[in-house]
Amino acid sequence: MNTPLSKDDTRRQVLRILGEIAPEADTTSLRPDVSFRDQLDLDSMDFLNFVVALHKEFHIEIPEADYPKYMTLNGCLTQLSAARS
């Protein structure tokens, strides 16, 4: 499909999406293993929007059962690279 993105590119994209959902948050100082909800005050609507944005950006299916895997930055990156390989 698309040219594979580097891990840095993927990371940048994920942070951009987060930035759109929580415009006032400082995503540069995000701790990669702590859940977004705790750091960015995301609610379920925000998280749903985040998942939908990932789906649109990376063209991947994310079943509801997998939501917890996308709760942290590292989790996202792991899932995205697995889905694309």
Binding site: M45, L48, N49, H55
Partner: protein
């Protein structure tokens, strides 16, 4: 000829500042189309027209702060007559009182206390320009009419001219507005509170199954089930779906659920999900998503702020188990939902772990009693046990 007035976009909104017109004089406007952007204490709101027609005249200037009810523009309704250039507001203005004659002087006719406001045409025009609510003034002109001088005096008395509202400023003012509305609510509304614990097992299982079938873009949040259940329960107990005006409750035919949305910078708004009882869960979800997005982007529509007939607040996400809310006047009820938690639950004589939710009702005792309120909560519970029928 129709008048476009500064709308009430909340219980305690007394005035608003015109940010910009979205239409020019001579433009066509359809009912529901945005005519103006208005800055309130809470947010900049896109205000919709209630009339389809041609914009005859834009009266308020951008930057002007005018009281609720002020005529801001004149819209010539489709098929309506054109007014002459010389008297662009002929329809909207009272006829000049009869000239004083020696006879009326002798008869000493007392000015009529009912009917139209006794105000000179020039004073009426000036009042509109300056955003003065003339009906509150005491006239000093012939036969007690309000004159230019009266408007002048009122203007100097209230020369608190609108300043452009910054974000910090807006937050402070939003706080004030919430403070005023809540203080008024607690001052005027005799609240009573009820709560019940609802077994959410079936609803959550159904939602999980349902979402498995749905692409990620169409999945539902359980909050939508709660809103739909409230909307349908209101059909059974319609007296809770009402507005308190002029000393009595006026039931609303339509069910517009005000949905409390916290804003990221602080503060909250509770815009309406229109006709929540008639929408499918998918439609409701879509509208809810759109509403949250626009609430946070500060682009709510006027009808969404002024229309709610009841409010639903859900603090479960913050881990709170129970919420007893304060009614948002002039509404007469507020439904609160806490967090879904696993609790020991007795079913069929066995203690089992179940996901449960605390639902509460804050209601106006002038309008309903605990018995009806209890029925309402029970109905919500019943509906949530049959999620497939929502």
């Amino acid at each position: 000829m129709a008048e476009f007035l500064m709308p009430t976009l909340g219980a305690d909104m007394t005035d608003g500042t015109l940010v910009q017109w979205k239409k020019k004089e001579g433009d066509r406007i359809a009912k529901g189309e945005t005519i103006a952007e208005v800055d309130t204490e809470k947010a900049a709101i896109d205000v919709e027209s209630h009339t389809t027609g041609i914009i005859e005249r834009l009266i308020t200037r951008p930057g002007d702060k005018v009281p609720v009810g002020t005529v801001m523009a004149i819209i010539r309704e489709e098929g309506g007559p054109t007014t002459s250039v010389a008297s662009p507001r002929a329809v909207a203005t009272p006829p000049s009182p009869p000239p004083p004659s020696p006879r009326t002087e002798r008869a000493a006719v007392a000015p009529s206390q009912v009917g139209r406001l006794r105000i000179s045409p020039a004073a009426k025009k000036l009042a509109a320009e300056r955003g003065i609510e003339a009906s509150t003034l005491q006239g000093t002109g012939p036969e007690g009419a309000i004159t230019l001088d009266d408007i002048d005096r009122a203007t100097t008395a209230t020369t608190d001219i609108a300043k452009p509202v910054g974000t910090a400023d807006r937050q402070a003012r939003m706080r004030q507005t919430i403070a005023a509305a809540m203080a008024r609510s607690k001052r005027e509304i005799p609240h009573y509170y009820l709560s019940t614990t609802i077994d959410m097992g079936r609803a959550i299982t159904w939602l999980k199954d349902s979402n498995e079938q749905r692409p990620v873009t169409e999945r539902l949040l359980y909050g939508v089930l709660l809103i739909k259940a409230v909307a349908l329960a209101l059909r059974r107990v319609p007296e809770l779906n009402a507005l308190w005006k002029d000393g009595e409750a006026h039931r609303s035919e339509r069910i517009h659920i005000g949905t409390a949305i916290s804003l990221r910078q602080g503060g909250l708004v509770a815009p309406a999900l229109h006709d929540a009882d008639r929408l499918s869960l998918s439609e409701l979800m879509q509208n809810f998503q759109d509403l949250v997005k626009r609430a946070r982007a500060g682009s709510l529509r006027s009808s969404e702020l002024s229309d709610p007939t009841i409010t639903v607040t859900s603090l479960g996400e913050q881990g709170v188990e129970t919420v007893f809310g304060v009614i948002y006047p002039p509404q007469v009820a507020l439904v609160g939902f806490g967090k879904v938690v696993e609790r020991p639950w007795v079913a069929d004589g066995l203690v089992v772990p179940r996901p449960v939710l605390m639902a509460s009702l804050s209601a106006d005792h002038r309008v309903t009693d605990g018995h009806r309120g209890g029925l309402f909560l029970a109905e919500i519970d019943r509906l949530l046990q049959e999620p497939q029928s929502l």
